[in-house]
Symmetry: C2
Subunit: 708 residues, 2 copies
């Protein structure tokens, strides 16, 4: 049984170029321009057509916040390049509990990303094909199922299939904006189909007016969702990681701002009237029967003509990029999972290169949660966006507050260092301010961990960063409060129920792992020292896997060895005894009777009895284990032995040795390239197996190194 000289495999890492990284990280923030302008205008229109005059100012406020948040994350990426994102910032600067709040918010955020993106995608599809309107919820559920299925199969995010929709969306929407503005300049401004309808307005008092503006601003802020994703994916970029990540972030932010501003402008120019309750549109007779077209659809129809090719292209690109954004969630949470696992807030299995089973479970849970929420809220985009914003802005606010604290601490450290430097150089007279700044810069450079972060942080740079983050924290906190107050009874309470549950779960996991660590710390009281060495081979019928197990047990040359057969069927037992003699096996075969057709009970009784007689010996039980190639074969093998094994491991002194039997189908496993795992591209852990000529590993100085 000498092994075949299989070609030695080499693992090659695959990191992301900026061009490939953009579609992966940008689909979420860019796709939100599909619904953010719509929600912004819709809330304003609650107060009536007159309120539309506020729209440019509200949109401007959103843009300012977008710029602020992008600038904030630029700083965050540099300060924390390990990919922990908001979670890490909160964890390190605000404490464990704050970090867990952010983590819970992010987990809810992932579910809502799937939900809102799919709901918006379906909305755009229905805007193109109104006949599908009665199947809104069903379509949404089907899309979630398709996304989950794709991710269960495993697909590499860095494939071109993902890049095309994003670039198509950017391109087509940009062309649409330009076309619409050019037409307007030349006097042929596009006119939306809802421009003709007046809007039923509620009379609004002054306090309510301010609240309305704030609500509109909050809804428009849904354009910010997804900006933080890059902060989690820094390790995936090619070197210099931080700079590439920052540049991609800025490009992404600029694109989002341009598209958002352009779309809002075009919507105002073409007079889109989008109402929360479609029948508030006075004059639209089919308000109860036809679906209200999305803002994107109306603008596209106004600019290019209803039913034109360009119209359908835009709808398709929008729907696709929204589905991509939903796909983001399936790939983002393993990232979060690995960071949480590293800190022991999630099962350890998430921390190293994925266990497909764990990730499959995660994909399924994420999918189910999204489906439940879609069904319960009937894929109503407006309601769902409110839930979405809360989770996102909790992590924004805490993340930026954490950064503020970070800068305060850095500044304090800087001042302390300067003070010490000033003291130690007191004798040589006070230095010029420039010289002091230079020394501070050097000290900052020394402190800077990242090798590719060439520019040291000066005092003024830190202050600037502090101000940016402080403004961002303030603004996002306002949004959070507004949304919470206005939407609590409309469903936001769900988020405030889920987050504490997740928080407590993660805290529980951490405390559990801590207790286990203490339990298994070596201590002087636990003494090891077994003696005696007995081997038991479990025999069912005379088959090759059993013969192999026997062979290995004999080769291991234990002190004593015996074969044990639990008799369930008289005929079969007699046949086995005959075969045993025929095969001329010199190991003693012991038969145990089993009155209740139970396999494990008689065996365990026997082992316990033996241990009482023989003291603290080690009993090695050899059992065959089938190795199969197809996933469905796992259902058909190994279950009885696994149950037996679980019971055997409870008996003191027992260790179970699994002897593999490779069924023919296991050939599939040898040639199989490992399938992509969700999130691997974002973790910088995409690896390819490359076959190399044999001779692969040489052992030098006690360490194994690849040859050649």
């Amino acid at each position: 049984m000498i092994g075949d000289p299989l070609p030695t495999e080499k693992l090659e890492g695959q990191l992301l170029s900026k061009r490939l990284a953009l579609p992966i990280f940008a689909s979420d923030p860019l796709s939100s321009v599909a619904y953010a302008p719509q929600e912004l205008l819709m809330i304003l229109l609650v107060g009536g057509l007159a309120f539309l005059s506020f729209a440019p100012w509200v949109a401007l406020a959103v843009v300012i916040l977008l710029v602020t948040v992008v600038a904030s994350y630029r700083q965050l990426i540099r300060a924390y390049p390990s990919g922990g994102g908001d979670y890490e910032v909160a964890h390190r600067n605000l404490g464990e509990k704050a970090g867990l709040v952010v983590a819970s918010a992010l987990l809810v955020d992932y579910v809502m990303t799937v939900v809102v993106s799919v709901a918006s995608g379906v909305d755009n599809i229905i805007s193109a094909f109104p006949g599908l309107a009665p199947f809104r919820v069903e379509l949404a559920v089907v899309f979630v199922i398709i996304l989950a299925a794709i991710n269960l199969r495993g697909v590499s995010e860095s494939s071109k299939a993902f890049a095309i929709p994003t670039y198509l969306f950017i391109g087509s929407v940009a062309i649409m904006i330009v076309t619409g503005l050019v037409r307007t300049i030349f006097g042929d401004a596009p006119v939306a189909e809802s421009a003709q309808y007046a809007v039923h307005a509620e009379s609004v008092g002054q306090a309510a007016m301010v609240l309305l503006l704030l609500r509109s601003f909050a809804s428009g802020c849904s354009a910010l969702t997804g900006v933080e994703a890059i902060s989690n994916g820094v390790p995936a970029f090619k070197r210099p990681k931080v700079r590439n990540a920052q540049r991609t972030l800025v490009v992404m932010g600029a694109t989002a701002i341009v598209l958002f501003a352009g779309l809002t402008t075009l919507a105002l120019v073409s007079g889109v009237h989008y109402a929360e309750n479609p029948c508030d549109l006075i004059g639209w007779t089919e308000c109860a029967t036809s679906p209200q077209p999305s803002l994107m659809a109306q603008v596209a129809a106004a600019t290019f003509g209803d039913g034109s090719i360009a119209f359908y292209v835009i709808q398709a690109a929008t729907a696709l990029v929204l589905l991509l954004a939903a796909n983001t969630a399936f790939n983002g949470f393993p990232l979060l999972g690995s960071v949480l696992a590293r800190d022991s807030y999630a099962p350890k299995s998430l921390s190293t290169r994925g266990d497909r089973l764990i990730y499959s479970n995660g994909v399924i849970i994420l999918g189910l949660a999204a489906i439940v929420i879609l069904v319960v809220f009937q894929a109503n985009l407006t309601v769902l966006i409110q839930l979405y914003i809360i989770g996102v802005f909790v992590s924004f606010t805490l993340g930026q507050t954490g950064m503020v604290r970070h800068w305060l601490r850095e500044l304090r450290g800087l001042r302390a260092k300067d003070a010490r430097a000033a003291k130690s150089s007191g004798k040589s007279g006070h230095r010029s301010a420039a010289e002091q700044h230079r020394r501070a810069a050097e000290a900052a450079a020394a402190r800077s961990k990242s090798a590719d972060d060439a520019k040291p942080l000066t005092h003024s740079a830190m202050v600037r960063a502090l101000v940016i983050n402080a403004i961002g924290a303030g603004m996002t906190a306002i949004v959070l409060i507004v949304v919470t107050i206005t939407k609590f009874t409309h469903g936001a309470w769900i988020v405030f129920l889920l987050m504490p549950i997740l928080f407590l779960l993660m805290l529980g996991v951490n405390r559990y792992y801590r207790d286990v660590e203490q339990e298994i710390e070596p201590d002087p009281t636990t003494v090891f020292g077994s003696s005696g060495d007995h081997a038991v081979v479990l025999v069912g019928r005379m088959q090759k896997p059993v013969l192999k197990a026997l062979d290995y047990a004999i080769a291991a040359r234990h002190e004593s060895i015996e074969a044990i057969h639990v008799s369930l069927d008289e005929e079969a037992t007699k046949q086995l005894q005959k075969d045993w003699i025929k095969q001329n096996i010199h190991v003693k075969l012991r038969i145990l009777s089993s009155p209740y057709r139970d396999l494990s009970h008689p065996l365990i009784q026997y082992l316990k009895e033996r241990r009482q007689d023989h003291g603290s010996e080690v009993i090695t039980v050899y059992m065959p284990q089938y190795i199969v190639g197809h996933w469905w074969e796992a259902v058909l093998h190994n279950h009885k032995s696994r149950r037996m094994r679980q019971k055997l491991l409870l008996v003191h002194g027992v260790t179970v040795a699994l002897v593999p039997w490779l069924l023919d189908s296991s050939d599939l496993l040898y040639g199989r390239r490992s399938r992509p795992l969700p999130g691997q591209d974002r973790r910088g852990e995409a690896v390819r197996q490359v076959a190399r000529k044999p001779g692969g590993v040489e052992i030098k100085d006690g360490r194994a190194h690849p040859k050649g």
Copy 2:
């Protein structure tokens, strides 16, 4: 590490008395009287009120069929007492494919049992509380979820909690029937609320009239569902098994007949008019808004008064017994699964005393299938019953046809034996007919396998059984054809789609196992013979489980031994090397580097390299395995080692030895009584663990026996 003297456990079987068996097996057939009379009358009323005069005759036909089927199964139980039921009869008498058709029909049947019972239960609840009508589907889904949850937890069917609803139902409905009839005799006949409404009738030609009568008969035959359950549960009865099972069957059948006939009579006397489309009831103004009360509810209201205590008791008992009937399915399919697994048509893990994981999966699949069907058909009882009948009557028909063949074969064998006996005794002159019969009876007695089957089958007894089964087969075949034709487009096609899929799955499993059997048959070409014996202990950090694994590896005294650590973190590796020296461990520690944070790849490369150098030696890799007490702890441990193990087992010459480390929580496992598994009571495999004084097992003559 000497084991504690744990008390030796003893397993005690728990078989069913007739009194406990009745509720378990009778809930399904008895509960169907809740909907069978309703469906029978409803179809007749399609032709108008005049057709109600046919009702007594149709009901009589149903009763005759019920008697026939009960008598048939009495024979089947005696002929096949191992619990295989219709499947086994078809398999042995009509061939493998027929057996699989029955098996597929039974699997569909189990799903439909859950669906129809829950839908009918919800119907009765809504009849008592009409305000719940808009939530029909949601209520049904919730009940399925509750049932699945209960069965996942595990509950013993033989508990009194199951017996009470069945006896309560029998008692209350019997009292209702008696009360109603007594009132009628004394001139105060009960009047149903729907008696006042005329029925909109379609004009019916003569051919259509016959078809209508046949459809009504077919719908009334839903009263037969569940009768066969006892044939699967014969092993669970106390001795004499066959006779007890037969008696329970007869009692069950008689009760069902009495309740069915009585309920139908009372419904006709009180003038219940139940229409498929409620608005066909002329005069009922709320037909579109209020739910149509079930027949049971109307009769109860008429007899005891609407809103009386007795009315609610009857509705409650009906709903409860229907839920019990649904629970039947969760317990019945493991039975079917074990029989199929025994014949290799299902995963082998189903054949011995349950793997909780497998059964949990089965419960979940059953629950999900039921929920999907309930949602798709909106819990519409009439449509669902048609689907139900098809599956049930496929197995009835094939089962009884198989029995016919069985008797024909037995009769042929009998005649052949008589012929041989007559030849051999030809010289001594022909015997009297009486003597010939006596000899035949003795021969039959000798052939009879069952020890508690005292009465030998005479020739006339066999002929009578043959006639009964033939009539039954004919009648059930007619029902099957009628339902298929009339309901194919209304949803029956689903059944005819599902059954072939299940058929092909089971056939595929059987062929797969057959191929594997051939693959692992011992043959002279495969030679075993490893030499060389190397032990590897995987070391992560210096913790007690690793020390124990090291201890066991040393105790096993392999030819050579080394410890291997895959380095993911420089700091941790240095710490380990320090601890290794501090703990004064004499085993060599080898460090493998891992550039891509992959645990298994470097190790596997090293092992393959070693094998190339050392030839066909056996490498035993020792790995710790955590044993935990809570189910949720399994998510938090062992995953990385399982992944490693799966990859290691692919390397030639490797065997993996699992060294258990019992965490404190595993104490829970020691005291834990095994939770009940679904179906265990019906399999006669309910066992209790009884603690006994130590000293439990003695080994005599190579066999282990319990002491004392």
